[in-house]
């Protein structure tokens, strides 16, 4: 399951639009995988490491 899929499972109301504005997922192609580069969603809190594990 990708990071995106985990977040969507956590917050089903999020849309793709949210991931181009207030939320930025990033992958630096360095083998470390996807990560949350920015989380500025006005209402939903940033998921914790435990929630994404």
């Amino acid at each position: 399951m990708t990071l995106y899929e985990k977040i969507i499972a956590l917050y089903p109301a999020l849309t793709l639009q949210d991931f181009t504005t207030t939320i930025r997922l990033q992958n630096d192609s360095d083998g470390k995988g996807d990560y949350i580069a920015k989380w500025e969603h006005p209402t939903l809190p940033r998921p914790t490491e435990e929630q994404l594990a």
């Binding site: 990708t2 995106y4 793709l16 181009t20 930025r24 990033q26």
Partner: protein, 332 residues
């Protein structure tokens, strides 16, 4: 007269001529000689000892006024200091009257290897003295009281400091920074700043939906200054860089995508987000002009697609589809 080879050429030493008044002692020369030994001064045809006059800049001053006469004073320049070169006296003759047993004499500055020594008018071979300091001469055999020790010191720094005339020997260290103007450049002269072009090879690059992903450009077309590595451009010349990048996404209805230039790990410039049609692949392009510090600043290309599922870049291993280019437009 016949010659073997080219005819010899000659040129007269530059000469000034003055008319004495019987009272005037100072005359203005056309050239500022280095010192009194740099000129031959004659009054009514009689060569004057340098001790009878002095020079300061372009002023020649006699210790006693020359007699009245028309053009009876001549000044012949043995050497003219080069303009723009700091001039040092290049030959200085000094007489010493030795004391009993004196061996060491403090001379005017000379370049080591460029000094002649005379004892009572007799030239001394270099084996008879030591002259290695640039300011002293030490005789091997002590002088007798009353001996006249004459040194002729040569200082060659003016020559050494001149820009050499040898072809291809002048480096940019002789130029003031920023001194070369646009007008000094020849027609068709282009800069030689860093320029890179690279494209994605056949390796599949998967972009997770809604995730900005660094794009790998494994194949270099050119990298003129070895500034491209690991799909990262780190120019070593400060200035303004034109950056171009293009990515190609698969034909898929509902897929939107973009390409972004990241500077130092952060999104810096983005192309327009494009909606791809089901009938054809979707290319996205970004073009930007970016200031780089020439040391730590670096650029990378990221792609992002929002389709709801993972997508692979298409058209990989084609130099004309997924590429990253940058080049120096102007210096900092």
């Amino acid at each position: 007269m016949s010659y073997i080879g080219n005819s010899p050429t000659n040129i007269a030493f530059q000469t000034d001529t003055f008319s004495g008044t019987g009272s005037q002692t100072a005359f203005t020369m056309s050239v500022a000689p280095a010192n009194t030994t740099s000129v031959l001064v004659a009054v009514t045809g009689v060569l004057q000892d340098p001790s009878t006059y002095s020079v300061s800049g372009t002023t020649l001053t006699f210790s006693a006024a020359p007699p009245s006469g028309t053009s009876n004073i001549s000044v012949r320049y043995l050497g003219i200091p080069a303009s723009g070169v700091t001039t040092t006296a290049y030959r200085t003759v000094t007489n010493f009257t030795a004391t009993a047993g004196q061996t060491s004499f403090s001379t005017p500055s000379y370049t080591v290897g460029y000094i002649d020594v005379f004892r009572n008018g007799v030239y001394l071979p270099t084996t008879d003295y030591t002259a290695t300091t640039g300011t002293t001469v030490v005789l091997n055999n002590a002088a007798t009281v009353g001996d006249t020790i004459t040194t002729s010191s040569f200082f060659v720094s003016s020559v050494l400091n001149a820009i050499p005339a040898t072809a291809s020997s002048v480096s940019t260290s002789y130029l003031v920074d920023g001194a070369v103007t646009q007008a000094k450049l020849g027609t068709g002269v282009a800069g030689t700043g860093p320029a890179i072009s690279a494209y994605a090879d056949a390796t599949t690059q998967t972009l997770v939906t809604a995730t900005y992903t660094k794009i790998l450009f494994q194949t270099e077309e050119f990298d003129t200054n070895s500034n491209f590595a690991s799909s990262r451009f780190t120019p070593t010349v400060a200035g303004y860089y034109q950056v171009n990048a293009q990515l190609l996404f698969p034909a898929l209805a509902g897929l939107t995508c973009l390409v972004a230039v990241y500077k130092n790990g952060s999104d810096f410039k983005e192309g327009t987000r494009t909606a791809v049609a089901a009938s054809s692949s979707g290319g996205v392009f970004v073009s930007a002009l970016i200031s780089m510090n020439g040391s730590t600043d670096y650029l990378e290309i990221y792609g992002q697609q929002a389709s709801g599922s993972n997508q692979n870049l298409t058209g990989t291993n084609n130099a004309f589809l997924n590429y990253f280019q940058a080049f120096l437009v102007r210096g900092a």
